[in-house]
């Protein structure tokens, strides 16, 4: 049974300063994945679309970085570890002019046994809010380590 302080669960350990979003940031992100969708890039086409203006592609949400405390506070259960996956809930579009803050807490710690032996998973939930304090996305980062 993995040993950890249960008070870790749910405690917010990271809150970032607002990060401004520009149309240029969105354009660079689209370019980096070869995305030419006019809803993300073309003001006129986007104005006629479902959001009434340019929005970021949904996965732009993962471009907001946690701050310097992030990896300090992620509990570790072994010498090796890696990013095992993410679960992202896209709640509201991110638009040019938005200012996005991110807050993170430990959501869950659990064990699994696979073919290579026991593994410990730490799930960190990051919640992104815009300048209106609206939640725009939840991102669950799943880190795996071998004790």
């Amino acid at each position: 049974m993995v040993d950890y302080d249960p008070a870790l669960i749910g405690r917010v350990f990271e809150e970032t300063e607002p990060q401004a979003v520009s149309a240029e940031d969105i354009r660079k992100f689209c370019e980096s994945v070869g995305d030419s969708n006019p809803l993300f890039l073309d003001e006129a086409a986007a104005a006629a679309g479902p959001y009434g203006g340019i929005v970021a592609p949904p996965s732009f949400a993962v471009s907001f970085r946690n701050g310097r405390h992030f990896f300090t506070f992620v509990p570790r259960f072994g010498s090796t570890g890696f990013d095992a996956g993410k679960d992202v809930e896209f709640i509201a579009p991110i638009r040019p002019g938005d200012e996005v803050c991110l807050a993170s807490h430990v959501k869950e710690i659990y064990e699994k046994t696979g073919r290579s032996g026991p593994m410990v998973f730490v799930v960190i939930r990051s919640t992104l809010r815009n300048q209106k304090n609206e939640v725009v996305a939840h991102i669950d980062h799943r880190f795996m380590s071998k004790p």
Partner: protein, 144 residues
């Protein structure tokens, strides 16, 4: 670009997304790291990656997630549908300087919620699934 969905009513279980074949080189991971404010390190340099026990420079997990999201938004096209959830599992590193294939298919539809569940994955040239995922897409009600 893959075939696009037109509306919820035309959806069928088994409808495909992709396949989309794409070469991913270090020039692409470099662009992504800059756009996503990530340290490039093991994503753009083979030696740095090997020093960390990786076979060579790899794609960031966030880039794999973003490529799968693009597969979804390309498929959504002009249907006004919206990606509401995407979960990914990174099974094996996606190594740069290779051609990957992105694809998926509709596994379930819910007519009350007007949602489609989709399985997605990234595979290498040997058809190994390196990244797998599931997504939920919501379709707006028809305007009467």
């Amino acid at each position: 670009m893959a075939d696009q969905v037109t509306d919820f009513e035309s959806l069928q279980i088994g409808d495909p997304l992709g396949p989309e074949h794409r070469f991913v080189g270090k020039q692409h991971t470099k662009l992504f790291c800059a756009a996503a404010h990530m340290d490039a390190g093991r994503f753009t340099d083979d030696e740095t990656a090997r020093a960390q026990g990786l076979p060579a420079a790899i794609l960031p997990g966030n880039m794999s997630l973003s490529l799968l999201t693009k597969l979804l938004t390309d498929w959504i096209g002009n249907s006004n549908a919206r990606v509401v959830r995407l979960g990914t599992t990174y099974r094996s590193p996606v190594v740069t300087e290779h051609t990957i294939t992105l694809q998926g298919f509709v596994t379930h539809t819910n007519s009350e919620e007007r949602t489609a569940e989709i399985d997605l994955w990234i595979e290498n040239e040997d058809a190994e699934r390196l990244v797998i995922g599931t997504a939920t897409v919501h379709f707006p009600a028809r305007v009467k």
